[in-house]
């Protein structure tokens, strides 16, 4: 199957690297970054494009753009990994809609469009007989969407909860281990590249809340939005508060929690026993699922990183290749 990739940031480059080295039977026919694009319907030379991007910062022809790829290029699956805008979802939203309308599958790591417009996108996809893969939008490398939709199919999920934001987890871990103040830990996270220059979305719990909305809408069709999440961040957590928690062998983590039966969604710093399975170190993510049949399942893994996110995108690509390739 033919793949077009929009976005050549860390994730897009990670996907290209993986596709260049692994025998997936997938051919990359188009690539776009924010300024240029390259289209080769017989398949592009991935290594050459990556080298060119590294040297010049531009992947291809300045007269071509992502929009040209979406509307005219020859591809079966659009991999959309451009930066996230959680307020409008654009420009990714338009790319995804257009590709779906053309009867193309879409795989994305972009939280904005999925959190804001999943019911609509899913509707377009099903009328066109294509699928939209978004495993990479929640918990990076952890296959939580596959687990909830397929792995635990038939189970009644009572609660999904966990550490869905690596930045907050890093900050809280460092505050607990090294008695750093919140401001010191945030500064350290920034220096290490774990926090954005504007860390608001992470530290206010919004990023974790968006992931809950995606799970609620995509797995349980709850049709909820960010406003439905009771959301508090970690920016008020003090080193003293963690010390008080530790007196009772507890610690503090930012926990996102979804109860599908009631649609209740909450993101807040919570007290957890220090030996709780959800207590993971540094930037790791951990998500627990409570079910009627399977009991409790906990998944722990890397929530961000270029190859880790590429892994989630690749799993969606291979799922589509295996179940939707009409050429074989």
């Amino acid at each position: 199957m033919k793949v077009a990739i929009l976005g050549l940031g860390a994730v897009g480059r990670g996907v290209l690297e993986v596709l260049a080295t692994q025998k997936t039977g997938l051919v990359v026919t188009a690539v776009a970054d924010s300024k240029s694009a390259v289209i080769e319907s017989e398949g592009i030379d991935i290594k050459a494009i990556l080298a060119q991007k590294k040297d010049s910062g531009i992947c291809g022809d300045l007269t071509l753009s992502a929009a040209d790829i979406v509307t005219t290029a020859d591809y079966d699956i659009l991999v959309e990994v451009t930066p996230t805008d959680v307020e409008t979802g654009e420009p990714a939203l338009s790319y995804i809609k257009e590709a779906l309308a053309r009867g193309k599958h879409v795989v994305t790591s972009n939280k904005g469009p999925i959190a804001l417009h999943y019911p609509e996108l899913s509707q377009i996809a099903s009328t066109k007989g294509v699928v939209i893969g978004f495993e990479a939008t929640v918990c990076g490398a952890i296959p939580i969407i596959q687990t909830l939709r397929h792995g635990l199919a038939g189970n009644d999920v009572r609660r999904v909860f966990g550490v869905l934001n690596g930045t907050c987890n890093y900050i809280l871990t460092r505050m607990a281990d090294e008695k750093l103040t919140y401001a010191q830990a945030l500064l350290e996270a920034r220096e290490l590249g774990y926090a954005e220059a504007d860390p608001t979305y992470d530290i206010k719990g919004i990023d974790a809340a968006i992931k809950l909305v995606i799970l609620a809408n995509a797995v349980w069709n709850l049709n909820v939005s960010l406003n439905d999440v009771d959301c508090a961040g970690i920016d008020q957590v003090t080193t003293e508060a963690i010390a008080l928690a530790e007196e009772e062998d507890y610690t503090i983590r930012l926990i996102a929690e979804l109860i599908p039966a009631t649609g209740q969604m909450r993101v807040a710093p919570r007290l957890l026993p220090r030996n709780h399975t959800l207590i993971v170190q540094h930037t790791l993510n951990a998500v627990a699922v409570e079910t009627d049949l399977a009991g409790d399942i906990t998944l722990i893994g890397k929530g961000a990183g270029s190859l880790e996110t590429a892994s989630a995108i690749l799993s969606d690509l291979i799922f589509i290749r295996d179940f939707y390739d009409r050429s074989t």
Binding site: R158, R159, F161, A232, Q236, V237, T238, T239, E240, A241, A243, L244, A245, E247, E248, Y250, I252, I255, E257, I259, A268, P269, R270, L271, L272, H276, L278, E290
Partner: protein, 163 residues
Amino acid sequence: MNLEVLDKPGQLVGALQPISELGGNIISVIHEREPGVKSDTLDVQIMLELPEDMLSSLLEIYKVNNVNVVRVGEERLLIRRSVILIGHLMHTDLSDTVDRIDATGFAEVGELSVLMPAINEPSSAKITVKCDNLDDIEKALRILNEIASEKGFMIIEPLEELA
């Protein structure tokens, strides 16, 4: 509770041992021999804390051991939950916050420890609320949450098992 045990060596220990075996805690034991009363049994008054649902097991053991329970006094369940408050707790009248929990009649603040790093910096407090039952704990925490949003401080609650 009031017990009647045989006035023989080892009987009192026999009455108290099952309490600790069931994970309970003896708060006080009063046993008096009334002068002039000649009786082969002894009255013992025990005040104790027991894990939830263990009272019936204890009474069962007493029956087997021939310890006669004269009267089971007021039974009160004891549930504690600790939460952490962060903010300008003193400036927003911490004693009023505590009073409003105590004033409910069904909940009380059992413990309170406060850490204040510096003037004008937010302080942090651990507050332990005690109630007879889970519903009351939930009610008390809801009141505490209301006070928190009214006074502008943050509250960090434990992650509980689903009921």
